[in-house]
Symmetry: C2
Subunit: 278 residues, 2 copies
Amino acid sequence: MEIISGSQIAQEIRQKVKERNEQEGISPCLAMILVGGQKEDLHYVGLKEKAAAATGGKSRLLHLPEDSSQQELMAKIAELNQDEQVDGILLQLPLPAALEEQTDEILAAICPDKDVDGFSLVNRGRMSGDNPGFISCAALACLEIIERFFPSLAGKKAVLVGDSFDLIIPLATIMIKRACQLSVLPSYEPGQASGADILVVEKGRAGIVQAEGLAPGVLIIDAGFYWGAGGVCGNVDRAALEGQGFEARLLPVPGGMGPILIAKLMENLAQAARQKRY
Amino acid sequence: MEIISGSQIAQEIRQKVKERNEQEGISPCLAMILVGGQKEDLHYVGLKEKAAAATGGKSRLLHLPEDSSQQELMAKIAELNQDEQVDGILLQLPLPAALEEQTDEILAAICPDKDVDGFSLVNRGRMSGDNPGFISCAALACLEIIERFFPSLAGKKAVLVGDSFDLIIPLATIMIKRACQLSVLPSYEPGQASGADILVVEKGRAGIVQAEGLAPGVLIIDAGFYWGAGGVCGNVDRAALEGQGFEARLLPVPGGMGPILIAKLMENLAQAARQKRY
C-alpha cells in the first residue's frame, strides 16, 4: 500500500507559494479572528501563522472574548474588509455556542475577495457557476491529491461519505461539474464503495474502513479525526489495510489532509493578494 | 404505471398560495426582466404572468433590448431592488450571448430577499448551510413530488442525472443534507440506476429511459426537454414503459415539472412578500 505523505505535499505547495510570492514581490497578510476558543483552536491558528511566515507572508490574530456579540464581530470584520493591509480574512470555526446559529450570516459579512477560506455565501454560491471564486481549503486539499492520480475526473467513480458544507458539498459540486460518477453516502459502511476509484471518508467511525468491499488500486482519502488511546486516528484502519497486503493509495490521518489544507489556504491567500494588485 | 399530473399538482399549489395570500391580504408583485429573447421566452414569461394573476398577485415585464449592456441591466436591477412595490425579481435566462459569461455577476446584483428564483450567489451559497434562503424552483418542484412519496429521504437511494446549477446541484445538496444515498451521473445510460427509489433525469436523450435496469416502484422524474416530430418529449419513453407494464410512478414531459416549477415560483414570491411585511 502506498501511503501519501500529506506533510511532504504541503511542503511542496508552500515552497511554490513562497517562490511565486518572492518573484512577484508580495507578502500577503492573513487576518485571523478567534472568538473565545479552546487550546486546540489556538493550535490551529498557530499552524496557520507559521504557514504564512513560511511562505513569505504575515498574519494577525484578533482574539475576541468568548462572549462577543454578533454586532461586535461584524464590526471587526467590516474593519478588516476596509483595511488595505489585509489580504485575507479567516474566521476560526466553530463559533461559541451563543453565535453558532448566526455562523452563515457572520461569514456572509466577509468580503468575498478576502474570503480565503471560501466560506462566505457568495463564494459558496459561485461554486455551482462557471466562475468559482475561493473554494474551501478542505475540498482543495482533496482535489490536490485526487488530481495527482486522476488528471481527468470524467467517468471516474468517486464515493464521498459525509455531508459537511466545507468538504463534502463543495467537493461533490466540483465532481458533478467534472462529469464524475459520483456517490455521496451519509456514513461509511463496508461494502458501500465497491468499484470506487476515489473514496473520501469524512463520516464513519475510527478504523471502520478496511479492505472489505474496496477495489484494488482505490485512492482513499481519510477525512476523519478521532482522539483515541493511541493518539489521533481517522476512519481508515491503516494497520489492517497494510496487514492485509491491500493494494491502494492512502492519504492517512494523521499527516494527511491537515497539512495540505493549510498549504492550500496559503495558495488562496497569495491569490487574494495578487488579485488586489491588478 | 402511475402517471403523476404536474398540471393538477401545480393547480393545487396555486390554489393554496391564492388562499393564503387572500387571508393575509397580500398581493405579491413579481418583476420579470427579459433581455432580447425568443418567442419561447415570451411564452414562459406569459405563463408566469398568468400564474401571478391566478394566485392573487401582480407582475411587471421589463423587456430590455437584446444589445443592453451589463451596466444597463445592473442599473435596472438596482432600481427594482429599491422599489418597495416589487416583492420578487426574476431575470429570464439564458441572457443574450454577449452577456452570458457575466450571468453569475448579474444574478449576484439581485437582492437576496427578492431573489425568488434562488439564483443569486448568496441564496445558492445558503443552500449548503443551516438556513437556506430561496431555493431554485426546479429543485423545489422535484422535492414537491419526491416528498409526496418519501416523507423522509434518509436512507433512500436517489439517482440524479445531469449537472445544472438550477436543478441537479441544489437537489444534490439538499439530498446530501437529508442523508440520502445519492448518486449523480453525467448522462443517463440504461443500467446505471438499478435499485434507485428516486430517479431524476435531466441529461440523456429523447426516450432513453425505459424499464431496463430499473427497480419496480421507482419514482421517475423526467427533467428533459426535446422538440421531436411528435411535439415536445423528455428523456423517458413513456409509451415503452406503459407497454412493458412496468410498475413505476412517472412525472412525465410534457405536463410534469414545468407547471409545478412555476407554481413553486409563486410560493417563493408569496414568501418574499410575507418576509417584507415583518
